[in-house]
């Protein structure tokens, strides 16, 4: 039993709960994993986090930091029970320094809230996960979130200058700098980026910010052959122009959108959505000309372009509706994020369809072709045990396929619980041992988000 008196003393009665009905929503995220925590706290300062961690470490109670709980990997599920540290109330933007090109925020700041504040000054934190209306910067850092603009602008990792972290022993560490460059000591900040809360609680983040591009131009092309679409992608990415968007939708996705919405789409094996951006129209158009040239050389069925906002939104419609359309097309789904070298995208797409057919499930794939990060969405029914089994087989084979193509299990959602069993597919025993060693060194009592990423062994 949890000694709750101490926790209440630290955060106050109003920032603590162990009421069953309140714990239930904390037992879930956007994946299929479920487990109850024993209590939830909403700290309001780093000092409170320190006290909570010290208490948990002393009593060896598991602790799971939580942002918006949009994790797709079960990363935020308290699989061993314990205390959830919900950072929603640590949501202050502490400093925006335009002259030094950084923003310093508390971990619970919502990604879009930061970008709204930055946009007023003509700046942006570029990583744009589809969950940005709710996902927190702490969650973005802990999962190294990326988004549609990843191919040109990279992922969260490329913007983290410094972190404040409460370590599993309750010490506060400041790592990184406020400067654009820094090679002073080991790059410890990177260790915490994408660590999914297994090494400490991130309480403050200093992020590099970019000037906001002023213009963008969009194009959509459809292809009768997957190979042609695949060639168009890697030829564009090596054409000398880096498009800000390079998305692909496969035929299963297109079919579902066609059947379930009023969006007009040709019959095609694949659709590419691409965008160029910049500070002047000339720049944007010149880049787009190159991209269009490549698209045209690869036997497209159709190509459409758009400059003004209305037409652009129209071209974006199919891509923007893919998740929603598929989410409505089945009772349940799993959304994966395997990533392969860019030239292997056609092989991955063909392979996914073979797997889907073998197991008789619908798998629709779309995603960020520009950085090789695809989202196979596996549709099934969670209340049908036989379908659950088939879904698990599909996932297993999908992961094996990605690894066989020199890819990775996860480009942006993280390992969490869902992919923990596959860690050894990608990481050799030497690397696994070192990861476990690092975890043990930092977190000797294994209190930080235990049970994840196969690190407990």
């Amino acid at each position: 039993m949890l000694e709750k008196g101490k926790l209440i003393e630290i955060v106050g009665q109003e920032n603590f709960t162990d009421q069953l009905e309140e714990l239930v929503p904390y037992s879930y995220d956007a994946s299929m994993n479920v487990h109850r925590p024993d209590a939830v706290v909403w700290p309001e300062s780093t000092e409170q986090v320190v006290e909570i961690i010290k208490f948990a470490n002393e009593h060896k109670i598991p602790v799971v930091p939580r942002g918006a709980g949009t994790s797709l990997s079960g990363g935020v599920i308290p699989i061993k029970g314990g205390i959830i540290i919900d950072l929603a109330r640590m949501n202050r933007i502490l400093e925006i320094s335009i002259e030094n090109r950084y923003a310093r925020v508390q971990a619970g700041v919502v990604c879009d809230d930061l970008n709204r504040a930055l946009a007023k000054r003509g700046f942006v934190f570029p990583p744009d996960p589809a969950s940005s209306t709710v996902a927190t910067i702490g969650g973005n850092v802990a999962t190294n979130a990326g988004g549609i603009k990843g191919a040109k602008y990279g992922t969260t990792r490329d913007y983290v200058l410094g972190l404040q972290v409460v370590l599993p022993t309750g010490e506060v560490m400041h790592t990184g700098s406020y400067t654009m460059k820094c090679v002073s000591g080991y790059d410890l900040a990177k260790l915490f980026i994408g660590a999914e809360g297994t090494l400490g609680v991130i309480t403050e983040v200093t992020l590099k910010i970019n000037p906001l591009p002023r213009h963008a131009m969009t194009a959509v092309a459809t292809f009768a052959k997957l190979e042609d679409a695949g060639k168009a992608i890697f030829q564009t990415m090596t054409s000398g122009v880096l498009p800000s968007v390079m998305e692909i939708l496969d035929k299963v996705t297109l079919k579902s959108i066609k059947e379930n919405t009023d969006i007009d789409l040709p019959d095609a094996e694949a659709m590419i959505l691409t965008e160029t951006d910049g500070f002047t129209w000339e720049e944007v158009e010149a880049q787009m000309e190159v991209v269009l040239g490549v698209l045209k050389e690869n036997n497209p069925i159709s190509i459409k372009t758009a400059k003004d906002e209305k037409d652009r939104l129209n071209l974006w419609k199919a891509r923007k509706s893919s998740y929603a359309t598929l989410a409505r097309a089945s009772n349940s789904f799993v959304l994966d994020d395997v990533t392969v070298p860019i030239s292997k995208i056609p092989d991955l797409l063909v392979g996914i369809q073979e797997i889907a057919q073998r197991h008789g499930l619908v798998v629709a794939t779309y995603g960020h072709a520009g950085d090789g990060n695809l989202h196979p969405q596996i549709l099934y029914d969670e209340y049908d045990p036989e379908q659950v089994e088939r879904m698990e087989k599909v996932e297993e084979e999908l992961f094996k396929l990605a690894i066989s193509l020199n890819g990775t299990l996860t480009g942006e959602h993280g390992i969490g619980l869902s992919k923990a069993n596959y860690m050894t597919l990608e990481h050799d025993p030497v690397e696994m041992a070192l990861m476990r060693q690092i975890k043990k060194t930092l977190d000797p009592n294994n209190i930080m988000n235990p049970g994840k990423r196969a690190l407990d062994g």
């Binding site: 309140e22 904390y26 949009t70 929603a88 989410a327 409505r328 349940s332």
Partner: protein, 368 residues
């Protein structure tokens, strides 16, 4: 008495279809305030999922969680999975009452039956308007009648000034709200309204309250009314009032008028005619944040309700810098008036009330 929620197949499917993406966190007025997941749509959908799967017993805590929702529908329009959580919560509230989890609206039901209004007021304000036969009949509703009398007076004046031949009735509560908080519409009261309305011989019923509008339009108890039902903004949209203000004006979409009834353009058409200096709030139309008064929240969680209103109001002020905030809903108006701090200089009116005031100002100027 059953010991399980009765939720039909469609609603059960919707509960499964919630993908727990959490996108509704961004738009829920109560979550905005509390930061407690149990207060947003995802949290409540998860509770219902566990109840449905038999993992969680139905408790008073579940019943309270489901009551804590303004039914503003902001989660619905932002849900990628196509789920309408508030519709499910309303159905679940009824099931819960059926299971013995009565809530404070049981008392309100008795009050409505006894007094014919939600407040238990014995005397109703009468604006001295005619109550005979006319082509149009105006229905004011409880909040306007008992809490925003002065605003209604101006609305009536505007209709008079615009030479609309309308009548009024001795209204009783439309009682639609009972449906949303776990109980049922009062058939006998509905019948009284229907009879009184029909007696006027009116072809068109005009409501000032967007909620009454929906009840007349949607609820089977009023299906035999036999007249066209219009919200006052629909009715007045083509009128020319001949007045203008240079002040900076903004507009708050009432959830019942906007997301629930799809009426976004008519109020704006009217406002643009009288206020060239019109600015939209950042969160507007389909994405407008709730004023906090709907779904019974003002009764069941009055502190949440007023805090939500404060937050919406200060955001509007901050983002638009408007001098005048218009809406056309007695509940929104009332909640904003209550929430407004002394130091906030913004003036808040229903559109119709504001136009009547403009006309009178102009008349005074002309007379002087």
């Amino acid at each position: 008495m059953s010991n399980q929620l009765k939720l039909d197949e469609k609603r059960r499917k919707a509960i499964t279809q919630c993908s727990r993406c959490g996108f509704c966190r961004a738009v829920c007025p109560i979550f905005d305030l509390t930061k407690r997941p149990i207060t947003n749509a995802r949290g409540k959908m998860i509770l219902l999922k566990e109840v449905m799967e038999g993992k969680l017993p139905v408790t008073e805590g579940v019943a309270q969680a489901l009551l804590r929702c303004t039914t503003c529908m902001n989660c619905t329009v932002n849900c990628p999975s196509g789920v309408d959580p508030q519709e499910i919560f309303k159905a679940a509230r009824k099931d819960l009452v059926g299971m013995g989890f009565d809530n404070l609206f049981k008392k309100m039901g008795e009050v409505i039956e006894k007094y014919g209004n939600i407040y238990g007021e014995e005397e109703r304000h009468d604006w001295g308007h005619k109550k005979s036969r006319a082509p149009y009949v105006l229905f004011v509703g409880c909040v306007g009648t008992f809490r925003e009398e002065e605003s209604v007076e101006e609305t009536i004046r505007l209709l008079d000034l615009s030479k609309v031949d309308f009548t009024m009735i001795d209204e009783v509560c439309c009682s639609g709200v009972m449906e949303d908080v776990g109980y049922s519409i009062k058939g006998e009261l509905a019948q009284r309204n229907v009879q009184a309305l029909q007696k006027t011989g009116a072809k068109t019923l005009i409501t000032t309250c967007p909620y009454c509008y929906r009840v007349f339009k949607e609820h089977p108890s009023y299906k035999d009314l036999g007249m066209e039902i219009k919200h006052i903004t629909q009715f007045l949209k083509d009128f020319d009032f001949g007045v203008k203000t240079n002040k900076k004006v903004t507009y708050h979409d009432p959830c019942d008028l906007g997301r629930h009834a799809g009426i976004y353009d008519e109020p704006r058409e009217i406002i643009r005619k009288i206020a060239p200096n019109f600015v939209e709030p950042r969160r507007t139309r389909e994405n407008a944040m709730c004023c906090g008064s709907g779904g019974g929240l003002r009764g069941s969680f009055p502190e949440d309700s007023i805090e939500i209103s404060r937050s919406r109001l200060s955001q509007i002020i901050e983002e638009t810098g408007a001098e005048i905030l218009l809406t056309e809903c007695p509940s929104c108006l009332h909640n904003f008036q209550n929430a407004k701090l002394r130091k906030q200089k913004i003036e808040i009116y229903n559109i119709t009330e504001f136009i009547a005031k403009l006309i009178q100002e102009q008349q005074k100027k002309e007379a002087a």
